[in-house]
Symmetry: C2
Subunit: 197 residues, 2 copies
């Protein structure tokens, strides 16, 4: 059965991070050996990215059934642009808890790790997040009881966290590999014209 990813949009999200998920997963449907579906949702009818793009989600949040999905993708965004309001909302916090409870993958980029930390599912587990600005975001993540590692990308069982926008493709390809296999990832990379490792 085709695997399916739920991508959560939040006010002030970073388009580059969200689109690493949509496009890597999208290319799997165009050229991959194993197609993966993805759908976008959010708590609002429309979002303003931190930079320029004005985006509408495909389905409303109350239509979501966790059992329909294999993974949850959380791009980061700018707290000054309202990012934390949406991701700290109790409705989304409960969704994170339900994905983790059912051992589904949760893949985040940059400060997309913070809502996972706040939900409690990372307590006494390993993760990472944005490191600059005197480690402000890492301290917040640690305050949620998380063991914060100084790494580009951390995988703790079903949960992927990462340091910054530069890790977006790494996270998206890691997610695709966890949902399918490395041959599928390499075929997508080849078609997107990435040099294969």
């Amino acid at each position: 059965m085709t695997k399916k990813v739920l991508l959560f949009l939040s006010q002030g999200f970073e388009a580059y991070e969200a689109s690493a998920f949509t496009d890597v997963v999208g290319w799997s449907r165009e050229v991959g050996f194993n197609a993966v579906d993805l759908i976008t949702t959010g708590l609002r009818p429309e979002y303003t990215c931190y930079w320029n793009l004005i985006v509408k989600p495909e389905i409303s949040f109350d239509q979501i059934k966790v059992e329909d999905f294999d993974a949850l993708a959380i791009p980061g965004g700018a707290p000054v642009a309202g990012f934390l309001e949406d991701v700290y909302d109790e409705r989304f916090q409960n969704l994170i808890r339900e994905f983790d409870k059912q051992n589904k993958i949760i893949a985040s980029i940059c400060v997309g790790a913070l809502p996972i930390g706040k939900s409690g599912v990372l307590a006494n587990r390993k993760a990472t997040t944005w490191d600059l600005n005197n480690g402000k975001r890492r301290k917040e993540l640690a305050d949620f009881g998380v063991t914060v590692l100084d790494k580009r990308l951390v995988i703790d069982k079903n949960i992927i966290t990462s340091t910054g926008p530069a890790t977006s493709l790494d996270v998206a390809f890691t997610l695709l590999e966890m949902l399918t296999n490395i041959e599928n990832v390499n075929e997508v990379k080849k078609n997107m014209r990435f040099n294969l490792d």
Copy 2:
């Protein structure tokens, strides 16, 4: 005076390619030594990306004054999703001609090179585009009188063209460097957590 980029959205555009422009240029305003502005436009009130994102442009096409901008950014997209309809429209074709006539930068990713070729401004000049699928897109570009090179990224004076989605960041950072300087690019890269060269 602050430099300004016009980003053209087209039906079926690739969000990953467009957001490389919005986010690299956006980060220059957040952390760079030289902030660059960017605004999105297009011929339609709303666009469906090749994958998932539904996007609204910030200003309508008829509000554009070429003299307000220093560069035109053209992300690629999927011809099967309607990409060529918008970029081959005579209104946009004329805009490309005007940017080139005024020696302003035109930066494209992947098949974003095709409308530049069709406009005629690349006749007897060097460029590149998507190479897979038996070189179909490269043949189309050559049919516009363009000297097509088998390179990841080609710069011919004011015009940047590239091979595929994987080159998105290279094109965006090259554009930022041409508009400002390498120190500014390196500061943005550091903050996005890319390893500096």
